[in-house]
Subunit: 425 residues, 2 copies
């Protein structure tokens, strides 16, 4: 029954029943965790043959000895393979170490303090730097801004991506806005895929801005569909070439959720000019990335078809977990008016919006009976969700059984908080 | 014969002969390279079993799945093994990615811009930051300072390490001096090992300084002796504990010249307090290092004895190359007064001091007949050797035959430049 249609007496009765269930749960001493988007052990095992795959042959295709120093760009074959994921040419692709977050931090730090076009272009020259942050979004993007002293302006994330009317009017009006964070496919946490029109308009943004504006295009889930017919993402590089805005777009990706999390290969795509200046910045910090691991990845993932087949194996492991979440939410909360949630076709998250003001309470209720959820607010700049309603659910890591149990607890906590609120406490 | 004892006629005759030899060399179309301290392919092959060593077992000793996210500190067993190299406890050791240069940059960047003890302690608050740079030294240390806008004050490097009288009086007198770069064992390029007294005095430096002073202790060649009886290095941690200065000392190392160059494991040792604040800085840039590669290294290098036995195999490959350099220099230049050079018992370099004003010319002469040497001045801040006399020779990478040929060319170029200078050109 919809919560608005219940009588006060009915709600009181319901709450008593819910608390009974909650007390029973508390007695079970659960210890479950839906907090982070980590691959499960079974997913990781799909790539176990990485170690040993070189079979004593450490030479890259061009004869480079990957065991020795050098090659800030990454191996040519790795640049070709991962450029293919981003839609950039090998020349527009740099393959680095194991963390795309590191590459993103380095680009932001570089643009802020050193300047993409020399010292005069450093954002830090021009007072307060601002960045657009579609919300809900990825906490680690926001942390980079917070750490670097960049003011974050939240913009609405719609089912088609960021609200582009809002984005365009902000960018046109405020020269202090230097960029925007995007997770364009299976966005973290909503799971939405940016529409073709959104991609096109984002590719045009650098022309709209008055200064050095960059799109931070974190394509973390580029090949991470759960279903073969999941919505594809339009290629931003194609639009950027059309609008001559490649200089204003940095694309990122990694194999952390393809092979090993934190022990894969990360890559960045942008204009050749950007990569050339960025490399000059990197050269002060490193002699070059781990090319041996890059070679392992190329031997293992080979080409787009092999990569796609590998990702289907991931999808087979992830699908039941996502379906358990969605079926449970529908069964327990469908039609109750107690919340809305996304139905992603890929990625690692389900985004849940509770009734305003309840997210923190729901997370606390769940924690008290042994179910850890991502902290409420984590999906907003500085950890503050102005409506206190968004909760990110991450079903990838636990067993199917634990996912099921966790979401049942979660739904119960949503109900308790919602009914309590309705009763005015 | 010593150049000062030769008559002008003798010198002219000698120069003619030297030019004949030089012309014959030019005709040979050599292409040799003594520029960088890279391991040879045979050295790298000593670690070929790294790939595949896990044999499907990706679990660390404490059960951690190295294939998944997490663990900014590095694996406990890696912290124990590499802490052993530095003389730090596992708690005082952080194991990172593949590059110790990256760790050094991150520490410098952090101390400069964010502050080791909060924003108030950031070096950048206090006007011009200065760093002591023993010379000749490692160009990439100097590049970090140059890039970060840190003024470099050269100090003399003696056979016992930096001239500590000079260092102490500078540090005591100038509060803008925030630290010192050190390569304490088999220093790059001189090959000297800091004496026990020098290590003790350096460990005390942070007490002598008025502000936040750090010793950047790049122990890159900690276990890289060429001879079993090579001079050991006193443990700076022991002195630092005695003087309570661990907060002022950051020690670095890597396996780049133990296993694979650029694809090994890098580590930093300091006080637990320092590592704790440093980790908070790193957390904005990465979720964690490549633990799979750390596990490979622990399985491969195992313990101090296995590591030492492995390094003996490196030494067996390096020794003949160093001996070829030293024997050739002695034979060709001994007693001529045309230069002095070091006789390192470990590390990767021989440091040669020509007569003042001749280093660039010698490097150019060698380049013109196909022998690449490290650019003159590279061992000094901003690439400027005030006396233009130091040249770094790196015999590790080429074949023994090529090392031999290169040094013969080098010696010839030294003679030409020296005789020309003596003749007043």
């Amino acid at each position: 029954m919809h919560i608005d249609q219940a009588t006060e007496a009915g709600l009181r009765e319901q709450l008593a029943t819910l608390y009974d269930q909650y007390d029973q749960l508390a007695a079970r001493g659960l210890s479950l965790d839906l907090t982070r988007g980590k691959p499960s052990a079974a997913q990781l095992a799909l790539s176990d043959s990485l170690d040993g795959i070189l079979d004593g042959n450490y030479r890259a295709a061009d004869g480079t000895d990957t065991r020795n120093y050098g090659g800030l760009d990454g191996l040519p074959e790795a640049r070709a393979l991962f450029g293919g994921v981003l839609g950039t040419t090998p020349e527009e692709t740099l393959v680095g170490g194991s963390s795309s977050l590191t590459l993103m931090y380095q680009v932001m730090d570089f643009a802020l303090r050193e300047g993409l076009r020399g010292a005069d272009s450093a954002w830090s020259n021009a007072g307060q730097v601002k960045f657009l942050c579609p919300v809900p979004g990825y906490d680690r993007h926001f942390s980079i801004c917070e750490y670097l002293g960049i003011e974050m302006l939240p913009v609405r994330l719609l089912e088609t991506g960021p609200d582009m009317d809002q984005v365009e009017s902000l960018v046109a009006a405020d020269p202090d806005i230097k960029g925007i964070w995007c997770v364009p496919r299976f966005s973290n946490p909503s799971g939405c895929v940016y529409s073709e029109n959104t991609v096109e308009r984002i590719a045009r943004l650098p022309r709209l801005a008055s200064g050095q504006f960059i799109v931070m295009w974190d394509n973390a889930y580029a090949v991470h569909q759960l279903y073969a017919d999941a919505e594809p993402l339009a290629c931003i590089s194609e639009y950027a070439r059309q609008f001559d805005t490649m200089d204003g777009i940095f694309q990122f990706g990694s194999t952390s959720k393809v092979t090993f999390a934190g022990a894969g290969v990360a890559f960045v795509g942008s204009s050749e000019r950007n990569l050339s200046t960025f490399k000059a910045h990197l050269a002060f910090q490193t002699i070059g990335p781990d090319k041996v691991n890059q070679l392992r990845h190329v031997r293992f993932l080979q080409d787009a078809d092999t990569l796609a087949a590998h990702m289907e194996q991931h999808a087979a492991l992830l699908r039941p977990r996502f379906e358990a979440v969605l079926e449970t939410l529908e069964r327990e909360l469908g039609g109750t008016g107690m919340g809305t949630w996304t139905r992603p076709r890929g990625g690692y998250f389900v985004s849940f919006d509770a009734l305003p003001g309840l997210a923190s309470e729901i997370v606390d209720l769940a924690a008290a009976v042994g179910v850890k959820l991502t902290p409420a607010g984590a999906t907003f700049p500085c950890g503050r969700d102005p409506e206190d309603r968004n909760i990110r659910l991450s079903p990838s890591f636990p067993s199917l059984e634990d996912v099921q149990a966790s979401v049942e607890v979660f739904a119960l906590c949503v109900k308790i908080a919602s009914v309590k609120q309705k009763l005015g406490r």
